[in-house]
Homo-oligomer: 358 residues x 2
DNA sequence: CTGTTAGCGCATTCAT
DNA sequence: ATGAATGCGCTAACAG
């Protein structure tokens, strides 16, 4: 129907009022007479006028858009994160630009530059940024959550790490309690600025500490993320064929789990009879797997929701310093963990069995 | 560092050249002397100047941004779609706005209006749109792929439907060949404008046709998407308890599969001994499941890639009418399908065994 | 080759 | 309460 974009001038002309008046009506300014207001609104309707957000953005230097930067979109766990961002942004009238770095510093830089040039209102991070990009953002006064770890770490990321570490420790202890003494941790090879690097440190640190204390063995296997299945097969095949192979297998990431499970099966390792299995990150599939998978679950959706709300508060000037929510990370025990082969376990104290939907 | 945004004027002033010259250098116009070009570039560097994309957008009425509209982000299959869009958009210098309708008409409308106002360059659809929104887009000359089905359907969606139907038929025939005569199709209850509605029609149509021809029984179970696990348990529990329960279970969607599998297991149904299982949509988890799942796979990533490329070609004026690619949909046979209980099967002709990563 | 002018569509001063 | 002017930062069309 409409040939050319209808502008605010046309509305003004058609309604026989001044240009600014239309603007006032649109923005719900208080001081407009009911008479003119209705006249304008009618004209707006009739002409099918829609204000141009880019003109508005240029004028107000606010774009009502935020960006979510994540390493990759394949990871369902990061999807949860993205969902959380999208949800709260949408609720508050913002759109979200998706930024996938593909774990490439070059792409990340291009992306961040583009976002800055776009005049984005803020960015929420699903993973760490290389220093240069973080600086660029800071130099252009683009708010970022979680905030840069100036002098250590922010209250939020500290809480997050603590939660991760705590759940991880519970997981390891439970495994030790079940008699396991030989562990293998399967981890994806990643560039130095890996997925939510803070988590990584928290997790691996907790595992190492607990295991050292119990004088248990830990082998770390790095698999090639670009060929997870094959790589898992090779690495685990070699390891499990060895004389004293692990009886407890920990998958560092939700995306790794299928590869690890598949490899284990091909090695003829039965879960949980021959070995126990646990992974970070939960999903319906982990629940439906047979046996159902024990996981360390972290509610990234909730986290993203909270972070985004915080970002938008900041953007909108309203600096309510919300207390960080209880960042939840929990051990969900299901069937993939059992006593180490040839072990008799007394009781399963301290286990927090959960089965609810993820 | 930078107090205020540095503009093109400052660069011009600092470099001692005209305003337009800087613009020319920035846009790589041919007719600039090397001398001035270098002078300008140096100044740009020194001042850390970054052109404002919103000003540029306003002027050129092109935003270099496209939107991807999907019903939901939870579905990993739609994620694949989103990945495809993001990938090719990024390659060509566009950013992508994510639009999640949450399967709500109201949200969809808000979203589309916002996108139109934003002056988006185009939108790629991961699901159908309500008529009103499609019109709004059309009225504002926003290109959309897949195109509206004017007078039936576009060449593309026709090809897509054909591919879906063909793979679905192969799947059903294979099941019949294995001796199954009683089927159950588990499907999510959705608003009328469901996920990629075209697929749905293609799939269910193909299933019904094949089954009718073979005089086999089909029961359709609708589960509540908001509580998949519980709903599956109830529905399937009731059905499988009946006297002549199905021996072949088809899950309509990838997100449904975990719920269905879990319910089946709780019913004491062993796969594939007691019943065969197949789902639409593949993933690492489907491969790693025990038994590994037979699936009808459709490469949504490839599809999104192609669609987006086509959209951008259109946006950029270059109207190369690419021939639709061979839209792949294939039956991937794995271990979750076997002969119907009490049946002896001759050979497994016509089966296309595949095991590659998804 | 380069400087100047005129808007893109809007919100925001100012006057009235 | 409202109309008129100013400019957000940029590109395009025009002069020189």
């Amino acid at each position: 129907m409409s040939e050319r974009r209808v502008t605010i001038r046309q509305v003004a002309a058609e309604a026989g009022v001044g240009l600014g008046t239309v603007s006032r009506v649109l923005n719900g300014a208080a001081d407009v007479s009911d008479c003119t207001r209705q006249k304008v609104e009618a004209t707006v309707q009739r002409l099918g006028y829609r204000p141009s957000l880019r003109a508005r953005s240029l004028r107000q230097s606010r774009s009502m858009a935020v960006a979510a930067i994540v390493p990759e979109l394949v990871n369902p766990v990061l999807m949860e994160f993205l969902r959380g961002v999208e949800r709260t942004a949408e609720e508050r009238g913002y759109v979200v630009l998706i930024g996938e770095t593909h774990r490439s510093a070059a792409r990340e830089s291009r992306l961040v530059e583009r976002l800055v040039d776009e005049g984005i209102d803020g960015v929420v991070l699903g993973g760490p940024l290389v220093a240069r990009d973080a600086e660029l953002l800071r130099d252009h006064n683009v708010p970022v959550v979680p905030g840069a770890e100036e002098a250590g770490s922010t209250a939020y990321s500290a809480a997050m790490e603590r939660a991760q570490a705590a759940a991880t420790r519970r997981m390891v202890r439970r495994l030790l309690e079940l008699g396991h003494r030989s562990f293998v941790l399967v981890i994806g090879t990643l560039p130095r600025w890996a997925v939510i690097e803070q988590y990584r440190r928290a997790r691996t640190g907790a595992i190492r500490t607990e295991l050292r204390r119990a004088e248990a063995k830990l082998e770390v296997l790095s698999v090639d993320m670009s060929r997870v299945f094959e790589s898992c097969r090779e690495q685990l095949g070699a390891h499990m064929a060895g004389p004293d192979h692990a009886t407890a297998v920990i998958s560092y990431s939700h995306v790794l789990a299928p590869g690890v499970l598949s490899a284990l099966q091909r090695c003829g390792v039965h879960i949980p009879a021959d070995a126990s299995f646990v992974t970070f990150g939960d999903s319906d599939w982990a629940m439906a797997h047979q046996p159902a998978l024990t996981v360390v679950r972290h509610d990234l959706f909730a986290e993203a929701t909270w972070l985004t709300a915080r970002l938008l508060d900041h953007v909108e000037g309203r600096e309510e310093d919300l207390v960080p929510p209880a960042v939840e990370a929990e051990l969900v025990e299901r069937e993939s963990c059992g006593p180490a082969p040839g072990t008799r376990v007394a009781s399963s104290t301290g286990s927090s069995a959960r089965r609810g939907a993820p």
